[in-house]
């Protein structure tokens, strides 16, 4: 059983958006509106790309705000507990020049139409 679950990644990403992040990626996958972070067997699928640990999540934004939320004991309690108990790595590093890749997929819109009315 994987130590890091898809929902852990979702929770981290959610927290990063909460901290006002402007762009987020998991490994080489940009997180966009259609992104799902899904558990597939022992791997995690992000934007239809399977990936395994280590997961490197990058987020462009205010480093202080991001770090405050990530280190806040009220958030990510399950993940932090597992890190504490099983020795998984959960490192937070500040960076001054992150490069977040573009979304490689396509926004296939087949059903949604712009405008609220017919």
């Amino acid at each position: 059983m994987a130590l890091i679950h898809a929902y852990d990644l979702r929770d981290v990403v959610n927290l990063l958006w909460m901290a006002g992040s402007e762009a987020v990626s998991i490994n080489e996958e940009r997180v966009v509106a259609s992104t799902s972070i899904y558990c597939v067997g022992s791997t995690v699928m992000v934007n239809d790309t399977r990936m395994a640990p280590p997961f490197v999540i990058q987020a462009i934004g205010d480093p202080a705000a991001q770090e405050d939320l990530l280190r806040n004991p009220a958030y990510l309690p399950e993940l932090k507990d597992r890190v504490h108990r099983y020795g998984a790595r959960f490192d937070i590093q500040r960076a001054t020049d992150l490069r977040i890749p573009a979304y490689q997929g396509h926004f296939a819109i087949q059903y949604a139409r712009p405008g609220g009315q017919e």
């Binding site: 898809a6 929902y7 979702r10 929770d11 959610n14 958006w17 909460m18 402007e22 762009a23 997180v31 966009v32 509106a33 259609s34 992104t35 799902s36 972070i37 899904y38 462009i60 934004g61 205010d62 490069r99 977040i100 890749p101 573009a102 926004f107 819109i109 087949q110 059903y111 949604a112 139409r113 712009p114 405008g115 609220g116 009315q117 017919e118």
Partner: protein
């Protein structure tokens, strides 16, 4: 006398030259006319064919120019259309416009946790939801489902209370199947919160609101090196 002899010889020479000239003149029409006629025929033929091919080329140039103009016009229109389509996709995906379309409505009449709501949203995204809203809050990439420990959930910093109504535009069949599959999210939620906690309804016409706030980028810049 010598001089006279010499003087007399001049007409002779002149005559000879005249004869030679005449002889040559006589010979010229035979060859010359034939050649001239042949030349004329060739030239006529050549000129005719040049005129014809010039006309053909001119016609071809005109045809190609017409096709080019039509192509440019068509490409311009095609490019414009694809740009409009792309803009609409971006507007839909990022909640910059209200959207309508078929899909499913998931009604959760239970105080489910933040993580459960995130899982439900994730499941709908995974099943190809093109646009999502929770109660009246459009869900975009920046949307956060959160709790402050008080009642209900916070979505886009707005409090929403049960029954949660999650609307997803997309293929109703795919979305419904993904939600209701054995061992899926709805089954899990019903196990946790009771068999009546979650209802999935197919919809032919959902209307989702716009994401109400502008997105301002203060830190992120386009990376031109990529």
């Amino acid at each position: 006398m010598n001089t006279r002899g010499a003087q007399l010889s001049l007409p002779a020479i002149a005559l000879l030259i005249g004869f030679l000239l005449v002889a040559q003149m006589n010979s010229l029409p035979g060859i010359g006319r034939a050649q001239a006629e042949q030349l004329g025929t060739d030239r006529t033929t050549i000129i005719c064919s040049l005129v014809e091919s010039n006309a053909a080329l001119r016609a071809e140039v005109e045809a190609l120019q017409a096709r080019l103009a039509a192509y440019e016009e068509d490409t311009g229109g095609g490019m414009l259309q694809s740009l409009v389509d792309e803009l609409n996709r971006i507007r839909i995906v990022n909640g910059l416009v209200a959207v309508s379309g078929p899909g499913v409505r998931v009604v959760v009449d239970a105080p489910i946790s933040v993580l459960d709501m995130q899982d439900l949203v994730n499941e709908l995204r995974n099943a190809g939801a093109e646009a999502l809203a929770l109660n009246d809050q459009r869900l975009v990439v920046f949307s956060v489902v959160n709790t402050d420990g008080s009642e209900g959930l916070l979505v886009n910093d707005t409090r929403v209370l049960p029954p949660y109504v999650l609307s997803a535009i997309g293929s109703p069949n795919t979305l419904e199947t993904a939600l209701l599959r054995k061992g899926g999210i709805v089954e899990a939620l019903r196990e946790t919160y009771g068999p009546q906690a979650v209802r999935v309804e197919r919809e032919t016409h959902l209307v989702l609101p716009i994401y109400p706030r502008p997105v301002i980028f203060r830190y992120a810049r386009v990376d031109e090196t990529q």
